[in-house]
Amino acid sequence: MRLSAIDLACRRGGRSVFEGVNFSVSAGESLTVSGRNGAGKSSLLRMVGGLLRLAGGRIVLEGGDPELTIGEQAHYLGHQDALKPSLSVGENLRFWSAFLGAASAGIGESLAAVGLDTLADLPAAYLSAGQRRRLSLARLLTVKRPIWLLDEPASSLDAAAQQRLSELMRAHLAGGGLILAATHGAIGLDGARELRLDQPAIALPEEAEAL
C-alpha cells in the first residue's frame, strides 16, 4: 500500500495556503507534517481524508480497496474529539465502532489500551481533556483502517499517555499501516520522515517581511 500526493495545492478563503506539495508514504512508514501556524498542516490531512476539496494536484492510493475512497480507509483524528457529553465513555466508543463498521467485541480491550476501562460507565462530560483525547484514540483501535491521519495527536496527553500513543503508533506501523501526523513537536516515532510546509500562509510584500 502506498499513499502519494502529487503537486497538491490548497486554497482557503481565496488565499493560496500551499502549492506544489509532493509526498509519498508506504505501508509501515510514517510522515510527520510540520510547519508554522497556518502553514496548512491540518488542511493537508483533511484533504487526504476527503474532507476538503483539492485546489490542485491529486492524491493516489495504490494497493488499497478500489471500491472505497481514501477517506473511507482512513481514520481522521482531528482537533475535536467527536464525543457526545451525554453518552457514557462506553456508549461513545460503541457508537463509533458500530458506525465505522466493527464488531463490538474489541471495545473493552481498546478502552484498556488507552487506560479508560474503569471509566466505561462515566458520562463523557466528566472526562478531562486528556481523557477525551484517549477515548478518541480508542476509536482507531476498535476499527482497523490502514491509514491514520493524526492532527496533533499528542495534544493534552500526559507523558505516560504520550508514551502509550507512540507504542500504539509503532504497533500500527508494524501491522502494515501508515501514518500521517501533523505536529509541532516530536511524537516519538523513530525513522519518521518529515514534510515541512514552509511557504508563508499569506504572501507578504518584501518590506513587510523585513520589519
Binding site: 483533511r46 481524508g49 473511507e72 457526545k84 451525554s86 453518552l87 457508537f95 458500530a98 465505522l100 463490538s104
Partner: protein, 222 residues
C-alpha cells in the same frame, strides 16, 4: 449493529437525556396550545373552529426547536468529519437522523395532541382527524427542516436563520394539514382531498430533504 442503526440509537439516546430536545419540543407545544384558550376566552365554537390551526402552528414551531442542533452539534464536536469518513452514504445518514428527530419530537407531539385538543373543544372524530393529519404531516416538517439545519450548520446563531429558511417552505404542509383537520370538523370539503395532498408533501419531503441536506453539508465542509 449496522452503521445506520447506530446513528438512530445514538441520536435518540442523546435526545432523551439531559439537554436533549425531546422533552423541550413537547413541553413547548403543550404550553403554546394551552395559552390560546386563556387568551381567547371560553368561546367553545370559536376554539373548535381555530383549534386545528393553533395545534398545527404549535407543532410546527415545536418541531423547529430541536432542529437547529441536529447537524450543528455534530459539526462543532467533530463528529461530522468522522461521519464523512464512514462507509454509510451521507444521504442515508441524514435520513436516519431525520427519522430519529421525528421519533423524539414528532411522536410526542402526536401523543399530546388529543389531550390538548380537549382544551380547544376538539373531541371524537375531530380529534382523531387532527391526530391523523399530525402523524402524516409532522415527518414533512422534519424532512423539510433538515435542509435548513444543514444550511445553517456552520453558523453560531443558526437557529434564527433556520426558522427564516424553513418556515416559508412549510406553508404548503400547514395549509393542507389544517385544511384536512378542518374538513373533518366543519366541512364542506371532503377529508380525503387535502389529506392526500398532505401525504404527497410528506413523501416529497422524504425524498428531497435528505438529498438536499446532504448536498448542503458537503458544501459546508469546504
Amino acid at each position: 449493529m449496522s452503521p445506520l442503526a447506530a446513528i438512530l440509537v445514538r441520536d435518540m439516546r442523546i435526545a432523551v437525556r439531559v439537554g436533549g430536545g425531546a422533552l423541550m419540543g413537547v413541553l413547548f407545544f403543550v404550553v403554546v396550545a394551552t395559552l390560546v384558550p386563556f387568551a381567547l376566552g371560553p368561546d367553545l365554537a370559536l376554539l373548535q373552529r381555530i383549534g386545528p390551526a393553533i395545534l398545527w402552528l404549535a407543532a410546527l414551531l415545536a418541531s423547529l426547536l430541536a432542529l437547529d442542533r441536529l447537524f450543528a452539534a455534530d459539526h462543532e464536536d467533530g463528529s461530522l468529519d468522522i461521519i464523512l469518513t464512514g462507509r454509510a452514504p451521507l444521504e442515508l445518514v441524514v435520513l436516519v437522523k431525520g427519522v430519529a428527530h421525528w421519533l423524539t419530537t414528532g411522536v410526542p407531539l402526536v401523543v399530546a395532541a388529543p389531550l390538548i385538543g380537549l382544551m380547544l373543544n376538539l373531541q371524537g372524530p375531530a380529534a382523531a382527524a387532527l391526530v391523523l393529519t399530525l402523524v402524516v404531516g409532522t415527518p414533512a416538517l422534519t424532512f423539510i427542516g433538515l435542509i435548513g439545519a444543514a444550511l445553517s450548520v456552520t453558523l453560531r446563531r443558526g437557529g434564527l436563520l433556520l426558522a427564516v429558511l424553513v418556515l416559508p417552505l412549510t406553508i404548503p404542509v400547514l395549509i393542507f394539514g389544517v385544511a384536512a383537520a378542518n374538513a373533518a370538523v366543519t366541512g364542506p370539503v371532503a377529508f380525503g382531498t387535502p389529506f392526500t395532498v398532505l401525504c404527497a408533501l410528506t413523501l416529497a419531503g422524504l425524498v428531497v430533504g435528505p438529498f438536499a441536506a446532504a448536498a448542503a453539508l458537503r458544501q459546508e465542509m469546504e
